[in-house]
């Protein structure tokens, strides 16, 4: 369940370097996602989720894109009580990011 997730492009020489940068930045992104969520900054949270939705698959992490899309959809549907309505999606999304981050040491392997 919590196995590391590897990039579909980890054997693509043109991608190895930027995948590493992407992976190294994941802890900061998780921190930003969680702090935006807990401080009620919906705008900031939507921005990060939307960016990861657009970029995740491009870096070879389709699960980031699909989970971000689901999270974004819930955020749009939820109104004032959005923190309560989306806390499950948040947890799921952060778990995906942690699994992706956990794969950083194996990212050269397939």
């Amino acid at each position: 369940m919590n196995n590391p997730i590897l990039s579909d492009f980890s054997d693509d020489d043109s991608m190895v370097k930027i995948i590493q940068i992407f992976l190294n930045e994941i802890p900061q992104r998780i921190e930003l996602i969680e702090s935006s969520f807990h401080s009620g900054n919906k705008e900031q949270l939507c921005k990060i989720i939307h960016q990861l939705k657009g970029a995740g698959g491009g870096y070879g992490f389709k699960l980031i894109t699909s989970n971000a899309a689901a999270f974004e959809k819930q955020m749009k549907q939820a109104e004032d009580n959005w923190p309560k309505m989306t806390s499950g999606a948040l947890e799921e999304f952060v778990t995906i990011l942690r699994r992706v981050h956990a794969g950083r040491d194996n990212s050269g392997e397939t």
Partner: protein, 305 residues
């Protein structure tokens, strides 16, 4: 004569550094120069400055004053950016967003996350289209017979150059050149020879300074826009061209001498009335004087004291 850049420029306007890096990795190896902007404001300024061939435009940029659609509208309204091919590249995949973007003038739409091969193919396709559009635009501004800029381009360019000269307080010289007794040459040697004369004169006129803008004004008349050139220097240029035309050799007619007359004026002689029409009228008056003065000569307005 007319520039079509050999390495095309692509400008990516997207607020995400993640996408910048991805585009850079995925488009490396393609024959293009990639530039980036992280906001719509920066994107618009770079579009005006760099004049890219293609813009890859994100739609959702919450920290910018304009979203991608608003920026697209602004790009399409501005004379300097309206012909740049725009590919919308967005994670908003709703069909109505595609329809809206395409109806607003975008030429294509790529959904994020994008496939690397599809991205490259779509960018290449846009660059090919841009190349053909530019070539057609260029052809529409060229004179078919001489290969010089045509009258339409001349009128546009003269207006631009005058406006630049006013803005930067620079001097600009205009020269009109007319082949002497051209009708007689046509009647005596035939129209194919007349065509050859026009082509050779065009070749001589465009063989001068690279900064000079040489156009076929109509018939046997040519216009030369000499930027940052005062009347003295402009007259020297015209005199050198007059001598070169007079010295040209004509195959099959070794004794023939073809000549041309020049009328030259600069912006400083038109105080308070600096318009293309006024400048053309003044150059034409000087050309008339050259014709009245016996042809094969250069007549210039007096230097401003």
């Amino acid at each position: 004569m007319v520039e079509i850049k050999s390495i095309p420029k692509v400008l990516a306007i997207d607020d995400s550094e993640l996408i910048h890096r991805l585009l850079e990795a995925r488009l490396q190896g393609e024959n293009l120069e990639l530039h980036f902007a992280t906001s719509s404001e920066e994107g618009f300024n770079k579009a005006k400055l760099l004049k890219p061939d293609v813009i890859l435009l994100d739609i959702y940029m919450p920290d910018s004053s304009m979203n991608g659609f608003e920026l697209l509208a602004k790009l399409k309204e501005d004379n300097e950016t309206q012909n740049i091919a725009v590919i919308i590249i967005s994670a908003k995949g709703e069909p109505m967003d595609r329809v809206r973007g395409l109806d607003m003038g975008a030429i294509d739409f790529i959904t994020k996350p994008f496939d690397a091969f599809e991205l490259k193919a779509r960018v290449r396709s846009a660059l090919r289209t841009q190349y053909l559009v530019k070539m057609l635009e260029q052809r529409a501004q060229l004179d078919g017979q001489t290969g010089l800029w045509n009258r339409r381009y001349f009128d546009q360019r003269l207006e631009q150059e005058i406006s630049e000269a006013k803005r930067h307080n620079r001097v600009l010289t205009l020269a009109l050149c007319d082949v002497d007794r051209f009708k007689r040459l046509n009647d005596q040697f035939g129209h194919p020879f007349g065509d050859m004369v026009l082509e050779k004169v065009a070749q001589i006129l465009s063989g001068g300074r690279t900064s000079d803008i040489v156009c076929r004004y109509g018939g046997e008349e040519f216009g030369l826009i000499l930027s940052s050139t005062n009347i003295e220097r402009g007259c020297e240029v015209a005199e050198r061209l007059r001598v070169a035309i007079e010295a040209a050799e004509w195959s099959g007619n070794p004794d023939l001498v073809v000549t041309a007359s020049f009328g030259v004026c600069d912006t400083e002689c038109l105080e308070g009335n600096l318009t293309p029409e006024a400048m053309l009228k003044m150059a034409d008056t000087m050309l008339y004087k050259a014709k009245q003065g016996g042809r094969n000569c250069v007549k210039c307005t007096a230097k401003k004291k």
